[in-house]
Symmetry: C2
Subunit: 202 residues, 2 copies
């Protein structure tokens, strides 16, 4: 057994971890791209992916981001009967319209309640907050919105954190902090060695 | 005139700067997404974009990245008669197949020679190097590939740099350093104030 295999005892013979991103119109492209890249780069020593990533939206349509890139998605409802290891709500200016979509809120609440881990990047925290999925938890969001997040009476906002992990809830601060949070999750799921291999990739 | 307008004297009444990204199969998604986000976030005080970004490939087809996301592109050849202010070659493991595509090389050489500024992110430097567009210039690439880039006899590799600007050539080191380089370009084109507004965006 190689040194690398010793560091990866729990993952070499397991199925990939299912990681479901949720986006909506006006999502911030880099909020998705950074963590998606980190999880996609996480492979075992044979080069097999440790995460199976899916990008979803309420309708499963192509979603406009805040750049020229549009994002193909599958319907979030397709995950109603499938195991979700980690549900990740992406941030962006569109979140404040998205939190008014009651169908999206109830689906996130339902799927988040059965997911192994629930996470948000940047202002994606407001979708979790609106669903009540952050009630009783410590959390963070983009620094400009921490005060607004603290208006939810049952969330303890840690405004200076890069990311916050409380129980099975993970929330990150602005944009690229989602990459730091993703690497921390990868390290937790596998080993610090796997987490460290992400950053120097070409 | 507001303080902000004083900082932006050259951009308020000009057309957007044309910024053309070049991708190919096996491109690293974050190599594109990071700089694309930075340039997309650069707006004037009225919220108008300072950059018009286009994503191109040799065929103008949908391009597979190293994540689950596929990228819609337009043909690079469409830019043959249009003004390119900045041409940006994206990196990724697919670059070592791409440098064998003689059509792509000759088109990059032709368009790069007439572009206001020529740039690469990460291993994208190898497409510029293969075209001769880095001959006589200082340059950098991902740290793992700096030695290989130095095999091109007319390129002076600065292996410890985050990014290198030499004349109208800009090259960045690995992945997220493309964001640092983009912000430096935005500051050069506009003002440091505009560059600084990119990072705290939600």
């Amino acid at each position: 057994m190689t040194y690398y295999q010793q560091l990866l005892p729990n993952t070499l013979n397991t199925k990939s971890h299912s990681l479901v991103f949720v986006v909506y119109p006006g999502v911030k492209f880099l909020d998705l791209a950074g963590p998606l890249q980190a999880f996609s780069d996480a492979v075992d020593e044979s080069g097999n992916s440790l995460y199976k990533t899916s990008i979803t939206s309420i309708d499963g349509t192509t979603i406009s981001s805040d750049t020229s890139v549009e994002i193909a998605t599958e319907p979030l409802s397709d995950w109603g009967r499938r195991k979700i290891d980690t549900l990740v709500i992406v941030g962006g200016r569109g979140v404040f319209a998205a939190i008014k979509d009651t169908n999206l809120l109830s689906l996130i609440k339902k799927l988040g309640s059965k997911s192994g881990r629930v996470a948000s990047i940047c202002s994606g925290a407001f979708l979790l907050a609106e669903c009540g999925l952050l009630d009783g938890f410590k959390a963070v969001t983009h620094w400009e919105y921490c005060e607004k997040l603290a208006d939810y009476p049952h969330i303890e906002v840690e405004a200076n954190a890069i990311y916050v992990n409380d129980g099975n809830r993970w929330t990150s601060a602005g944009v690229t902090t989602g990459i730091d949070m993703a690497i921390a999750m990868i390290s937790e799921d596998n080993s610090r060695a796997v987490g460290l291999t992400i950053q120097p990739n070409a």
